[in-house]
Structures are given as structure tokens and as C-alpha cells.
């Protein structure tokens, strides 16, 4: 009774809980994993080195957290001061990152079934995630209480939101899906304290706006261009970089003649206003559903003898690109897969040189890469220690068809057909290490037995590259050589990207595998 009285008196409404400051987000302290790709520059490189080339042989499973009713988790855990946040559609779990024990859970009711969900964002005392019914929800990070929720778009129109939001200077940046339903996408900023919308960037320009001339007739109305993966941010330039998805209908471009801006582009936005500073379009007038949402990785490095602010991007279309991220100028591009037949190269400005006839047709045409792409949502990594850019690369082709389809509102597919993947011996998945500036292949490691991409990559100062394979193997590769040094069979398909963090001086490496979150640390 005395305890109760004391506590009741002591409860306070002002939370003094662990809080993420803007500074922490900018500096990306290695003990925590605070953003989808670990830091604003999206390198997925951690300074932690306890688990290293010389100690990784004693890496063992520390705990497993089962996410009820999950199947193929894509969540990237966020960790702050020993508390981990993982998601699946409609749900968040806060977990003790040292023991795997649950602290709280949130279940959205009623739950619209639509997935995946890729994770939360964290800022001050709140966590944020988006939902299958296209809401942005802010919750108290210590208790899971919902503080506010804001509707992004109409779920009944077919909108939803799978990407982890990003916090930039007190704003929650959140995007939309899908692009395959002819719904025009958006990228929004919301006040992280109140949930009020501050700006909206429309990737499909309206008539009269710059870029609208790249859409024939009224095709812009069902143009697609969604934002279903998290982007990157440069605090010094104060520029937000975000990849934009495919134009619609995906496989028949006849009804949307033109370059179809800003689909298949990376856009650089002023995060204060949402205004477009520059864009670079990887696949003008795409007809293969090659969403350009793959993570833009920001690196400062020497290029042609000068220090440059670079952006590295391995696109679903099969080319690796290096851009000047101040101006958007194309610097260099080269294929990172061998099976690429739709373009013979890139012009000096970075525009693909098309091979005539290699595009979807009524009878079917072999197009490489397949529509699933040479790269996809699984995150790449960059190590400043090796100077290598690491990417999960898929070799493979598809027989691509097109048809005539009419847009129907309400969230129906508007793809005008697709491709049949050619699953012959050439269909293979690799982890590839590319020289940052030249894109030249330094080493590759085949994901033997994987029939698809699998999970993404994590680079660490321990000289390791962690890689989650679709066949269930969680692997540590030597970052310099690609040699497999350690592996753990998780028993489930891995479709998420790994992270690392430390609690009380002990490093953990964690990945979502199938329906479980698995965390590893050194034996002693």
C-alpha cells in the first residue's frame, strides 16, 4: 500500500524517457540503430568491431523473438538504448534488445491485411510507423500508447504505406504504395509532434507544372510513381534523396508516351518545403516495372582527383550509378549484372542507350534483367574501410508481355501484363562488391540455393559484411574478399536487412528471418 501511494504520487506526465535527439540522428551513434538504414547516409556501416574477422567464429544466437502470425518479415529493427522496435503490418513490438523479452505491443484495429511493413522511425519520445490502411501513427516509445494518428491517403482508393518513415528536423517523412494500381504517389512531411501535414511532393506533375510535358494526354492521371522505400538525407546540404517507383501501366508505355517524370528517378528535395532541387531519371519511360526506389547511398570520396559529394545507386534496371549529389549530375554508370540486354550502355548524361525491340510485346520478348530487377528493396551497404559498395544482385531474364488495360479506381492492378521469369541455370543471386567510383566488380559471393534476392547487407568495422539469404542462411563474409567466415541456418526464408547495436558494451547482430527476430552475440 505504501508503495502504491508513493508511486501514484510520483507518476508524472512529462516523460523523461530515453529520447532520440536530432543530433543523435545526425551522428548515428553506433551503439544504437536509429534509422532504417542505420544512418542518414544509408551506408549501413557500423563502427562496432567487437564481432570481427577474428572473433566471428564465436558468434552465437543470443535470443529469438517470435512475431505471432508473421510469415516473411521485412522489418528492419530500430534500437535505442537497449530497446528494439520491430514491426509487421499493423503491429509494433518493443523488445528488450539484450534478452528478447517483449516490453509492449501495438495492434491496429481493425487490421487491413496488406504487407509488408519495413519498420518504425524514432524521434524524441515517440516511434512512428505507417499502416496498410494508409495512416501514420505516432506512439509513445516507452509504453506503446498511441499519441496521434494521421491519414496519409484513402485506403479505399487502394493506397497503403509499407516503408519505414524517416525523421528529418522534427518532420516525419512518409511515402505511399502502390504504383502498380495506377495510383499517383506522394512523399509527405508531417510535424513529428502534432501529426499535421507540412508539405506533399507529387512525383507526377500536374498539367502546367515542370515535367508534365513528359506525359502524353491525360496519362498522368493514373501515372503511378510511388515511394515505397525509405530514402536518405544529407544534413550538410539539407537535401532529402528519395527514389520514385514505376509509371503505370507498368508494362505498356503506349498510353503514356514521354519520359514520365519523375517516375524511375531519384529526387532531391528541400526537407523544409518539399521543393524539388534536382532529379535524375534512371529509366526514362520505363516499361519493366523497374521502380527506382533502391536505397541511394551517400558517400564523400575522391572522384577524378577531387573530393566530391557522391551518391551511389544500384538500380533495379541493372546499372550502377554514381551521381554528384549536390547537383544531380551523372558522373559514371556501368552494369552490375551480366544479363542486361535492354540497353547497350549509358550516354554521357547517363541516359540509357536503348536496344530496339527489347521491351514487352504482345507475343513476349526476352528482357534482362527481369521485372523483379537486378536489385530491389534489400539494402546495399558501403564500407569506408574497403571503399567497396555492396549490393545483392540478381542475374536473370523474363519473357515480358504487354496488353491493353484500362485504369479502374479502387486499388485494382493496372499493370498491362508482366513477365514470366526464365528460371534456367542462369537465374542466380549474388552479393557483389563494387569499386565505389568505377563500379568494377571486386568480388562476388553466390547465394547458392537461393531462388530470389533474400535479405540485405550490413557492413561493420569488424571487417565483416552480414548477408541474409533467401534460403535461410545468415552469413558473415569478409568485407575485403567475400570469403564466408561464419553462417547460421535460421530455418526460415530471410527477406529483411540485418542491423547491429550494442548494449552495455556487448555487440549484437540482428536479422528478421521468416517469422522471427534473431539476435546474435559473441559467446563470451
Amino acid at each position: 500500500m505504501r508503495l502504491r501511494m508513493m508511486l501514484a504520487g510520483a507518476c508524472v506526465t512529462v516523460s523523461l524517457a530515453a529520447q532520440v535527439t536530432d543530433r543523435q540522428l545526425h551522428e548515428a551513434n553506433s551503439a544504437n540503430w536509429l534509422t532504417y538504414n542505420g544512418s542518414y547516409d544509408s551506408r549501413r556501416h557500423s563502427a562496432l568491431n567487437q564481432v570481427s574477422v577474428s572473433t566471428v567464429d564465436t558468434l552465437v544466437a543470443k535470443w529469438v523473438f517470435h512475431v505471432p502470425n508473421a510469415t516473411a518479415l521485412q522489418t528492419v529493427p530500430i534500437v535505442l538504448d537497449g530497446v528494439m522496435y520491430v514491426t509487421q503490418p499493423n503491429e509494433i513490438y518493443a523488445i528488450d534488445a539484450r534478452t528478447g523479452r517483449q516490453i509492449w505491443d501495438y495492434h491496429r484495429v481493425p487490421a487491413r491485411q496488406k504487407g509488408p511493413n519495413r519498420g518504425v522511425a524514432i524521434w524524441r519520445d515517440k516511434v512512428y510507423f505507417t499502416t496498410p490502411d494508409a495512416f501514420l501513427v505516432a506512439l509513445n516509445a516507452a509504453s506503446g500508447n498511441v499519441v496521434w494518428e494521421t491519414k496519409l491517403a484513402e485506403a479505399s482508393d487502394g493506397y497503403w504505406s509499407p516503408a519505414a518513415p524517416m525523421i528529418v528536423n522534427g518532420k516525419v517523412i512518409a511515402g505511399s504504395a502502390p504504383g502498380d494500381h495506377g495510383l499517383n504517389g506522394f512523399l509527405d512531411a508531417y510535424d513529428a509532434t502534432t501529426g499535421e501535414r507540412l508539405w506533399r511532393f507529387n512525383p507526377i506533375p500536374k498539367p502546367g507544372e515542370p515535367g508534365s510535358e513528359t506525359w502524353a494526354g491525360e496519362s498522368w492521371k493514373a501515372g503511378g510513381g510511388n515511394t515505397w522505400l525509405t530514402g536518405s538525407y544529407d544534413p550538410e546540404l539539407n537535401l532529402l534523396y528519395w527514389g520514385i517507383g514505376n509509371p503505370a501501366p507498368d508494362f505498356n508505355g503506349d498510353v503514356r508516351k514521354g519520359d514520365n517524370l519523375y517516375t524511375e528517378s531519384v529526387v532531391a528535395l528541400d526537407p523544409d518545403t518539399g521543393r524539388l532541387k534536382w532529379y535524375f531519371q534512371f529509366t526514362p519511360h520505363d516499361v519493366m516495372d523497374w521502380d527506382a526506389v533502391e536505397v541511394p547511398v551517400l558517400v564523400d570520396a575522391m572522384y577524378e582527383g577531387k573530393p566530391r559529394k557522391l551518391m551511389a545507386h544500384a538500380d533495379r534496371n541493372g546499372f550502377y550509378y554514381l551521381l554528384d549529389r549536390v547537383t544531380g549530375k551523372f558522373l559514371h554508370g556501368t552494369p552490375f549484372v551480366k544479363q542486361l540486354n535492354w540497353a547497350s550502355g549509358l550516354t554521357a548524361a547517363g541516359r540509357p542507350i536503348l536496344v530496339p525491340g527489347v521491351e514487352p510485346s504482345l507475343l513476349g520478348t526476352k528482357v534482362c534483367p527481369a521485372a523483379i530487377g537486378a536489385a530491389n528493396w534489400m539494402s546495399p551497404a558501403y564500407s569506408p574501410e574497403t571503399g567497396l559498395f555492396y549490393v545483392v544482385a540478381q542475374e536473370g531474364c523474363g519473357i515480358a508481355n504487354k496488353s491493353t488495360e484500362t485504369f479502374r479506381p479502387g486499388g485494382f492492378q493496372y499493370r498491362a501484363t508482366g513477365d514470366v521469369e526464365v528460371r534456367d541455370d542462369s537465374w542466380k543471386v549474388y552479393v557483389r562488391a563494387l569499386d565505389l567510383t568505377t563500379g568494377k566488380l571486386k568480388w562476388e559471393q553466390e547465394r547458392v540455393g537461393s531462388t530470389g534476392f533474400g535479405g540485405g547487407l550490413l557492413s561493420t568495422a569488424g571487417g565483416l559484411l552480414f548477408s541474409g539469404e533467401l534460403n535461410g542462411e545468415f552469413v558473415a563474409l569478409e568485407a575485403k574478399t567475400g570469403k564466408a567466415l561464419w553462417h547460421f541456418y535460421t530455418g526460415q526464408r530471410i527477406t529483411a536487412s540485418p542491423i547491429t547495436y550494442s548494449v552495455n558494451g556487448k555487440q549484437f547482430v540482428t536479422i528478421a528471418a521468416g517469422s522471427d527476430i534473431m539476435s546474435f552475440g559473441l559467446l563470451k
Binding site: 502504491r4 506526465t13 516523460s15 523523461l16 524517457a17 530497446v83 534478452t99 505516432a138 509504453s143
Partner: protein
């Protein structure tokens, strides 16, 4: 005029189609349920117990852990009027008006609070919640308040009115994840709060300042769990009658998320 009449009729028909049917002809005023309670206590208690709470020969009618098949007004009316063949439940033999009164009472004790018309001023209730009641020290409604106790933004859609009233007036069991605990670390630091989770090896504490503190048991000298909830009670005595009723009414209307479908069991009779 004619057109608007048609529109009005069509509109009324549409509304009727949307409402639960058939509804209690006596209405849903609290007085109806109260009159029904008196009728119930006159006719039904020998089996089901006073106020439907617990009976010698029939099941309790407001037990939260039991799944009831007869949930809709029509289903309850049917069973009170006609009984259940092959069981000890007899036809009541009461006039329909009395049966509907009992239906109102049974619905009342089973429904979530938000299903009922709870008299009281919601705005005053919120003032009590944030003011003299001291509830926001630990509870939150729609983002406002503390985090040590459960969020109450949807409590009206989750709890029955009886449970709400009991929570405010009686000492109740500690909900999962809210057991008060005082831990002392090996270094001698003392932290108090609620154990959101714990087992033999670790303890996840939400401390009194709203900060999570996560321990392995090997780091603790002691973890002393309290036997009573932090939730104060006796609000029917510490608040005046109006304040208490307004607080109850406000809580009954907190339905940010409708957790329970209100028409569950509609048309399910006699299973």
C-alpha cells in the same frame, strides 16, 4: 416536394436497414434497464443470481470470461420468452413488455460501456480526469496523460460499464504488465515502477518517470513485487456524485478504436 418525400422515405429505409434489428421497443434509456434489473431480480435470481452476477443453478450473465451466443436483443428476448428446450431454462411466462425490460438489463450488463447511454457530462468528466481525479498522472487518453497505467483512449469500447465502475470503486486484480515493483541494483540504485514483463532471468521496468529500464536478474540485489495495483479506488467516495458520474460517462465514450463488434451474435439463437 414529391421528390424530396421519396428521397426522405428512401433515406429512412436505408437507415432502418443499417440499424440493428429488431430493437427493444422500450428504447435504450438507462431507466429502462434499471426497471429491467428489478424485474430480473424478481424472476431470475434463483438460478442466475442477483444482478446476473452469479447463480446457484444457471450461469452468470455478466462473466467477462464466458463467450455468450445470445448477444443480440432478439436472441435474448427469444430465450427469456420461450426458454431453451431440453435445458432447465424455462419460458418466463412474463408479458412481452417485461421480457423487453429484462432484455434491456441483460444487454446492459454485457455490453461494452460505449454501447450504452451513460448519463453524465463528458466535458466535466474530462475535467475530473485531468484535474481532481488525478487520472492523467498514469493514464493517457488520445495522447494526453501519463504512461504508467493502461491507455484509456478506447476503454469505452473495451470494458463493460460494470467493469469501469468497479475499476473506479473497488480494488481489482493487477492487469498483466502493470505489476508494481521496486528493484535494487547490485550498486544499490533503487528504481520503482511497473514490470511490463519479467521472468526468472530479466525484468523490463517502466519506471515512475516513464523511462524504460531493462535488467537482467543477475544485475539486481532484489526485485520486490507489490501485491496491489497502483490504481487507486474509492472514487465514488472521494469524488462527489456528479463528478463520479461525469467521469464514468466520459470514460464510457472513449472509443478511438472499436475493439468489439457490437452486433456479435446477432441472429445466433439456441446453440
Amino acid at each position: 416536394m414529391k421528390l424530396s418525400l421519396i428521397v426522405a422515405l428512401v433515406g429512412a429505409g436505408w437507415l432502418a436497414a443499417q440499424s440493428p434489428k429488431p430493437s427493444n421497443p422500450l428504447g435504450d434509456a438507462p431507466a429502462v434497464a434499471e426497471a429491467g434489473r428489478l424485474l430480473y431480480n424478481r424472476s431470475c435470481t434463483s438460478c442466475h443470481g442477483p444482478d446476473g452476477g452469479e447463480g446457484a443453478r444457471g450461469p452468470a450473465l455478466d462473466f467477462a470470461g464466458r463467450r455468450y451466443f445470445r448477444v443480440s436483443e432478439a436472441a435474448i428476448f427469444d430465450v427469456v420468452k420461450n426458454g431453451i428446450a431440453g435445458t432447465a431454462m424455462p419460458a418466463s411466462g412474463l408479458p412481452d413488455t417485461d421480457v423487453w425490460g429484462i432484455v434491456a438489463f441483460v444487454r446492459n450488463i454485457r455490453a461494452t460501456a460505449s454501447d450504452l447511454v451513460v448519463p453524465g457530462d463528458e466535458r466535466n468528466g474530462m475535467a475530473v480526469f485531468t484535474g481532481v481525479g488525478g487520472c492523467t498522472k498514469c493514464h493517457m487518453i488520445r495522447g494526453q496523460g501519463g504512461v504508467l497505467g493502461p491507455d484509456l483512449s478506447s476503454i469505452g469500447a473495451q470494458a463493460s460499464l460494470n467493469r469501469l465502475r468497479d475499476s473506479l470503486t473497488k480494488q481489482r486484480a493487477i492487469p498483466n504488465g502493470y505489476r508494481p515493483v521496486t528493484v535494487t541494483t547490485l550498486k544499490g540504485e533503487v528504481f520503482r515502477g511497473v514490470a511490463r514483463n519479467s521472468d526468472a532471468f530479466s525484468l523490463q521496468l517502466l519506471d515512475e518517470s516513464g523511462k524504460l529500464r531493462l535488467f537482467e536478474m543477475s544485475e539486481l540485489r532484489s526485485a520486490v513485487f507489490a501485491k496491489e495495483s497502483l490504481m487507486p479506488y474509492g472514487f465514488d467516495k472521494t469524488l462527489n456524485k456528479t463528478q463520479f458520474q461525469d467521469l464514468l460517462a466520459m470514460l464510457s465514450r472513449q472509443t478511438r478504436t472499436k475493439v468489439k463488434p457490437t452486433l456479435q451474435g446477432e441472429n445466433e439463437v439456441g446453440r
